[in-house]
């Protein structure tokens, strides 16, 4: 027997009663990560999430690129929600370089960010439906998402990974009759969203399967540092768009959705309620947007930050996404740390899954609004 195992491996004790199950990356029910479960009959005794399947070293690679070429690089962790992951980066770099963003660009940013939030949440809802065996709940959100991706295509030129936000504004202005098309599509989208209640949220089988499972109490949610829809489903009213508003969120009229139960059903309902709020925000922003104006500040070719550091955070589709930039008078950042909500919510997974039935693994695990690619960066 070997005395010294290579670092990272550990020796496993074999127990007659407890079976180790690898819900691995190549499994229809796991996303791109591995969950090591120890089950006793049908009950999960111990859960050990093992992310890192799609780890690429985003933070290290960001140190080799200057502030402008970092933009298409940093949007890759979440390709649908790319505007929201570039948002804190742009806010941070603007603080470092001392830039002032024009009004119209701020409104466009808000609209793009809300559209991205809806696109991501629809995809997440679709996969949630499929994990529970509900194929209609997969087809409807993914089909409705196409409307919004069309809008983003008109706005930015790409369906996903838009690379739309730059420090100093947005990359280009919208086409001429964009406001009417956007308003029409968002109205239709909101009508479709309300139909999800009939087929999914009021469905008795879904309610019996997810209500009361995976309950995260308010104190635990705060102590474990969870964020986003997981936090709001446990009764904590914290949304960065309201608490620390950035860009023009203070002037827009919307509310935060909070539910008290903290079970999987509440966690699956909050993103849907948030999408309804996003529709309101988009309509409001389209109305209040200045009709003309520049959308971008001209930058010097390789801008250099000062000798400081910044930390900014925004509310993305999954929760509060923070970016910590340390710069030292060079065109490349000295250190760039992305604090992703999926990684912060990961700590709730072993806590919640202990003692659950094996059949409850998909609803609880995916209801944590976990996007494996983002958590791995």
């Amino acid at each position: 027997m070997s005395q010294k195992l290579p670092p990272g491996l550990q020796l496993e004790k074999v127990d007659d009663r407890i079976m180790t199950l690898n819900v691995g990356p190549q499994h229809p029910g796991s996303g791109h990560m591995r969950i090591i479960l120890k089950i006793d009959g049908d009950y999960i005794v111990h859960c050990d999430p093992d992310p890192g399947y799609v780890h690429r070293g985003e933070e290290k690679m960001a140190e080799y690129r200057n502030y402008i070429t970092n933009i298409p690089h940093l949007e890759r962790p979440v390709i649908h929600d790319s505007c929201n992951i570039l948002y804190p980066y742009c806010l941070g770099v603007e603080e470092l370089l001392g830039l002032e963003v024009p009004e119209r660009a701020k409104y466009l940013r808000v609209i793009a960010a809300e559209l991205n939030r809806c696109v991501y949440t629809e995809y997440w809802l679709g996969i949630y439906g499929i994990f529970l065996g509900h194929s209609t709940m997969f087809m409807w959100p993914v089909g409705d998402r196409e409307l919004l991706i069309d809008l983003l295509d008109k706005m930015t030129g790409a369906r996903v990974t838009h690379a739309y936000f730059v420090p100093g504004g947005v990359r280009n202005d919208v086409p001429p009759n964009f406001e009417d098309v956007c308003l029409r599509q968002v109205n239709y989208f909101e009508k479709r969203l309300k139909e999800y209640a009939d087929i999914f949220y009021d469905n008795p089988i879904l309610i019996s399967r997810t209500k009361g499972t995976g309950v995260l109490s308010r104190e635990d949610a705060i102590k474990l540092g969870t964020t986003g829809s997981v936090l709001r489903a446990s009764g904590v009213d914290f949304d960065i768009r309201k608490k620390e508003p950035y860009d023009v969120y203070e002037e827009l009229d919307f509310q935060t959705n909070v539910l008290k139960e903290g079970d999987s059903y509440a966690r699956s309902k909050i993103p849907w309620l948030d999408m309804l709020e996003s529709c309101r925000i988009i309509r409001d922003a389209l109305q209040k947007m200045p009709k003309s104006g520049s959308v971008r500040i001209k930058l010097k070719p390789k801008p250099k930050g000062g000798d400081t550091e910044v930390y900014h955070r925004v509310e993305s589709g999954r929760g509060s996404l923070g970016m910590y930039i340390v710069s030292n008078n060079k065109p490349e950042p000295y250190r760039l740390k992305i604090s992703v909500p999926s990684f912060r919510n990961l700590i709730a997974m072993p806590h919640l899954l202990k003692g659950e039935l094996l059949g409850n693994l998909p609803p609880v695990y995916w209801s944590l609004n976990y996007w494996p690619v983002e958590a791995d960066r």
């Binding site: 990272g8 080799y64 603080e95 102590k223 540092g225 904590v236 608490k243 550091e309 340390v326 604090s339």
Partner: protein, 180 residues
């Protein structure tokens, strides 16, 4: 060392360079602990540099008296010129409505060795897992990416890197990406 004493004007609302509320927070920390250094006081952002022996006391004080209850992120920064690795904890608060905009950056430094043996050399820091339970996964990531061992973290295993990683911790500055 980031000793930013330049007051940067934010792009949005508040333009007075003296931030009263943040100053009151940093004053309460420096009154209780004489050895800490307040790096900067900006709008909604404070930074406190602490030595590693005192970090648990300072963190407990911050949690109990100032009501910061969770960590937003934990990042390690490598300074090969000073031969030190800095670990910065960004702390936020969900419960206190006055503190919902504030983020307090708590920073410590530890020794850096040129040939690292992660877990067995002098880059060690006490873990804040007992004070703030939300940092456990972040500290694991810091351990594998920079080689800083956290005493007291119940689980110092690999998280993101593959099991057969045999090179130096990747976020160090002397780890070069091939081809660049």
């Amino acid at each position: 060392m980031s000793s930013a004493d330049s007051t940067e004007i934010e792009k949005s609302e508040d333009s007075s360079p003296v931030y009263e509320f943040e100053k009151s927070l940093s004053d309460s920390i420096s009154k209780k602990f004489s050895n800490v250094e307040i790096a900067y006081v900006k709008q909604n952002r404070i930074r406190v540099n602490v030595k590693k022996e005192e970090i648990i006391d300072v963190a407990s004080f911050i949690r109990d008296e100032l009501h910061f209850d969770h960590a937003e992120s934990v990042s390690g920064v490598d300074y090969p010129k000073d031969k030190q690795i800095e670990v910065v904890y960004h702390l936020g608060s969900y419960t206190d409505p006055l503190l919902s905009k504030q983020i307090l950056a708590l920073a410590t430094r530890t020794q850096r060795e040129d040939n690292p043996h992660p877990g067995n050399d002098s880059s060690k820091l006490p873990s804040l897992c007992d004070v703030f339970p939300s940092v456990s996964f972040h500290e694991r990531e810091c351990f594998e990416m920079l080689g800083v061992y956290f005493d007291g973290n119940p689980d110092n295993r690999r998280l993101l890197l593959p099991e057969d990683w045999a090179d130096i911790p990747p976020l160090r500055k002397d780890f070069a990406i091939k081809g660049r």
